[in-house]
């Protein structure tokens, strides 16, 4: 849970959308531990939508209190901000087809896995 891996996220702004406070705190700690700046955690879609353009990458919980994060996902796609989903569902219901290719991670996401996943996201975004 400490910075025992070589994943550095120095200077990366991560938009975190997660309505479950404790996992959000843990993710924030894990990301900040690797040098990232965490925007959020935002617990609802409205707050997250307002912050879409501020992040370099984003992490979205699919299910938020009273709805989902699909609108945020679409806004991120439009703004070309790379992101992935985290979810408690093995097979999330009602996933729109255009978001079916977005990478999904199942909770609980270990801090080391989370850092690696974000770094992978940045790499794949730089590659094209």
């Amino acid at each position: 849970m400490n910075r025992d891996d070589d994943c550095s996220l120095e200077g990366v702004r991560v938009l975190l959308v997660e309505d479950s406070m404790l996992p959000a705190m843990a993710m924030k700690r894990a990301l900040e531990g690797a040098g990232a700046t965490v925007l959020g955690p935002h617990t609802n879609a409205a707050d997250a939508l307002a912050a879409v353009e501020l992040g370099d990458v984003a992490i979205l919980d699919i299910h938020l209190r009273g709805g989902d994060s699909f609108a945020v996902a679409k806004a991120l796609t439009t703004a070309a901000v790379p992101f992935f989903f985290v979810t408690g569902y093995s097979d999330p219901p009602d996933l729109p087809p255009e978001l079916a290719d977005v990478k999904r991670f199942t909770k609980p996401l270990l801090p080391s896995s989370l850092r690696r996943a974000v770094q992978e996201l940045i790499r794949s975004a730089e590659r094209p």
Partner: protein, 447 residues
């Protein structure tokens, strides 16, 4: 074959064939019952016609005044008409002359006519045209009045009648019996064929419908719940509709089951994420393994207690007083040190675990630094409904050591704020008056 092993599809055919048979037997019996009368009527009618002719012949011969001529005429005439016999009567009804075909000639067979002559005399006296009587051998007899010329009456008996008999009544009845049998047999054939056709139709129809039912239930057993019920209003259609309803119910239950399994999976993973996060946060907040273990165990225990209460309510919602009691019981039982007061309030399911954890943090803080750290200290938990959709909970400590606001925000406070404000969208106010910590939590009761 017992009634239970009698196939439903065979009942209708058997009923059809049975009623066709019963109809045939009944119509045959009916024909036979009226056969005697029918044959007698027919023969009497024929005989009546013949007899009128014979009577005419006799009458004209009588006019000649020769009794022998009259006798010869009656023999010839009855033979010509193929009558079995004829006779002449006198005014007293006594047979003057009789003949039969088997004894053509002058042989008188009075014995044959004698037994009925009295009855004929009685019948003649009655009004009406012709009266027939039959003897014990089944022959029919009647007389026909012959108009006599008065001046010739000395030559012959003063009144003359003609009697006709036929011996073929028995044969006619036997033929009638055969006719009836033939008619019924040929009448039965089409009825039987129609019955057989209807029976076959029903057999096939019922077999098909029964097979459709079996196929439908097999499909349901195979997990295919869209079954088209049989049309119609018969019993099989009713059963079929009941099966379709049952299939719908099974489908709903399966879907609910699938949803519940997915939901359970989701909750388990979320719980693991929460536990993982609590471990990380607690580790960052504590200085020794012992301290970590105590704090972490306490938090996990509060999670477990809240989950237990939630499960006991079948995930429908826990009463607020029950959650408070369960969460605070490990620290202080309700009594002088813990007072609870408030109206019945049921919490939304998703608020149970966060509020339980927040209450645990308050209790832990009170044990470490507040009212529960001293024997004389006590905590009052009161709640009230602000309106239909919100509840406000007051945590008020007293009798503890003098309180001063903390210099920096501890994990406990961060958890309380995070869980109530960020996760549940409620409000938290924590104040530190000298008399003891006070905390106000406002929560939405809407799911």
């Amino acid at each position: 074959m017992g009634l239970r092993s009698l196939s439903l599809r065979n009942v209708v055919p058997i009923a059809f064939i049975g009623s066709a048979l019963a109809l045939a037997i009944f119509s045959f019996a009916w024909r036979i019952a009226w056969l005697d009368e029918e044959v007698e009527n027919r023969i009497a009618k024929e005989a009546q016609l013949l007899m009128q002719i014979v009577a005419g012949d006799v009458e004209s011969s009588l006019r000649t005044g020769d009794p022998l001529h009259a006798r010869a005429m009656i023999i010839r005439s009855s033979a010509d008409r193929e009558l079995d016999g004829a006779a002449l009567f006198d005014a007293d009804g006594r047979v003057v002359f009789a003949t039969t075909l088997t004894s053509v000639g002058d042989r008188i067979e009075e014995t044959r006519f004698a037994p009925v002559s009295d009855r004929l005399a009685a019948a003649r006296a009655a009004p009406g045209n012709l009266t027939w009587v039959s003897d014990d051998r089944g022959s029919l007899f009647t007389t026909h009045p012959v108009l006599l010329r008065r001046e010739r009456s000395d030559l012959l008996p003063s009144e003359v009648g003609v009697l006709v008999l036929r011996h073929d009544l028995v044969a006619a009845k036997a033929a009638g019996f055969d006719d009836a049998a033939t008619d019924v047999l040929f009448g039965l054939l089409p009825v039987g064929l129609i019955g057989l056709a209807i029976a076959l139709f029903f057999h096939t129809y019922l077999t098909r419908r029964a097979q459709a039912l079996v196929q439908a239930t097999d499909r349901i057993a195979g997990g295919e719940y869209e079954v088209e019920p049989l049309s119609g209003a018969d019993e099989l259609a009713l059963i079929s509709r009941a099966i379709a309803r049952m299939a719908g119910e099974i489908e709903r239950q399966r879907r609910r089951e699938k949803l519940m399994v997915a939901e359970l999976d989701h909750r388990v993973k979320n719980s693991l994420a929460v536990v993982l996060a609590l471990a990380g946060e607690t580790l960052a907040d504590t200085d020794s393994p012992e301290e970590f273990a105590a704090a972490f165990e306490g938090r996990i225990q509060s999670l477990a207690l809240a989950h237990e209460a939630l499960a006991a309510s079948r995930w429908e919602g826990v009463a607020l007083d029950e959650l408070v009691r369960r969460t605070l019981d490990p620290v202080a039982r309700e009594g002088p040190r813990l007072q609870l007061e408030g109206p019945p309030v049921v919490l939304p399911p998703e608020a149970t675990v966060p509020l339980g954890l927040a209450l645990h943090e308050l209790a832990t803080n009170a044990t470490k630094y507040g009212a529960f750290s001293r024997d004389e200290g006590s905590v009052e938990v009161r709640w009230s409904r602000l309106d239909d959709a919100r509840v406000q909970l007051h945590w008020r400590e007293s009798g503890g050591p003098a309180v001063t606001p903390p210099k920096e925000l501890g994990l406990g406070t961060a958890l309380i704020r995070g869980l109530i404000e960020e996760e549940l969208g409620g409000q938290v106010t924590i104040r530190y008056p000298g008399s003891g910590l006070r905390c106000e939590i406002t929560l939405s009761l809407e799911e």
